[in-house]
Amino acid sequence: MTNKILEEYVGRVRAELHALADDERDAVIDEMRAHLEDAISQRMAVDGYTDLEAATLAETRAFGEPAEIGAARGVAASAEPAVPPTLPTRPPRRFPRWAPYAAAGLIVLVAFVVAANAGNSTEYFGKQFLFGEPYQAKLNATNQTGMINESFVLPEGTDHFRLHALVEPVAGCVGVRVTDPHGSFVLNEWDSCGAMNHTITLDPENSGKIGRWQVEVRYTNFTGTLAIETTFRGWGSPPKTN
């Protein structure tokens, strides 16, 4: 069974390594893929991950952003990437400026990669980490009790959205609540005190969930791992990042 998230990530890395010679790029990709397959298997066999998507997201994040990989090899994806033949064509659309994601230091990384050009439209893949390693570091301290309120915007043009919430407690409790722009809970584990591994996949354009989402977290004497991340994709002009 094809691991779509892995293949998407490999594609993004391949685009960043566009300037390398073909055989060198292929060798880099082959080695990276072997590493990731080993790492994902480890997560699922030993580290308790039951969801292939979650394990893959965790490992591709740990491996590094494609832009960082390109930079580490001294190449930049400045050349026009090739258009994958399987991309559907879309009519050109106007796209509003992306709202800056500046959530008080909790955002670890926002990365937008131009995956392909199709006429006047551009498909892009955005990945936003809401609660990444710095946030985990905070919650790994003992006797941590508190609440976090965070929000992000799904802009118009988003046609695919996924939110993944992972809690692996060692001690204490974490409750998580995610509210869509209409005020409905799409995830409500507010009274939870155990492990959590939820993936929410939406088609916002069809379900009217464009707009501002709320993420609330409350933790009580928590030690462990907390990761909440979103991935989204849409059509429009390449967004500016801050």
Binding site: V28, D30, E31, M32, R33, A34, H35, E37, D38, A39, S41, A62, F63, G64, E65, E68, I69, A72, R73
Partner: protein, 121 residues
């Protein structure tokens, strides 16, 4: 701001020892593939030093270009081939020299920090 500066200091110190650590681990565990090497690096430092694989692999490739390590693709019982690394004869010489350099640097730093070095008020 102080925390950020300390974080930068620690990252610089970790980055400064990375090549030596990689060579040392490859020497102990060769042949070893990248994934195993990265895990060994984290485990041997008690997870104090963890680097993104995306930055480790270019270093390995660069070490190979310099003739310090050599690689070979090895068939795996499960999944695709794995690229393994081992030190060359040049690499073993580099490791010996670098280890001595590290000992001198560590001695000098400790002497400075403890005041047992030559500089006096």
């Amino acid at each position: 701001m102080v925390d950020a500066y300390i974080g930068k200091l620690e990252r610089d110190m970790a980055a400064g020892t990375l090549h030596l650590l990689l060579l040392g681990l490859i020497a102990r565990m060769d042949p070893i593939h990248g994934y195993g090497l990265i895990r060994a690096l984290a485990e041997s430092t008690d997870h104090m030093l963890q680097f993104k694989p995306g930055t480790i692999y270019p270093i390995l490739n660069d070490l190979e270009r310099q003739g310090i390590v050599r690689s070979s693709w090895v068939a795996s019982a499960s999944g695709p081939q794995r690229k393994t690394y081992e030190l060359t004869a040049t690499g073993r010489e580099v490791l010996v020299t670098a280890t001595k350099s590290w000992a001198r640097i560590r001695t000098g730093v400790e002497a400075t920090l403890t005041g047992s070095g030559g500089a006096k008020r």
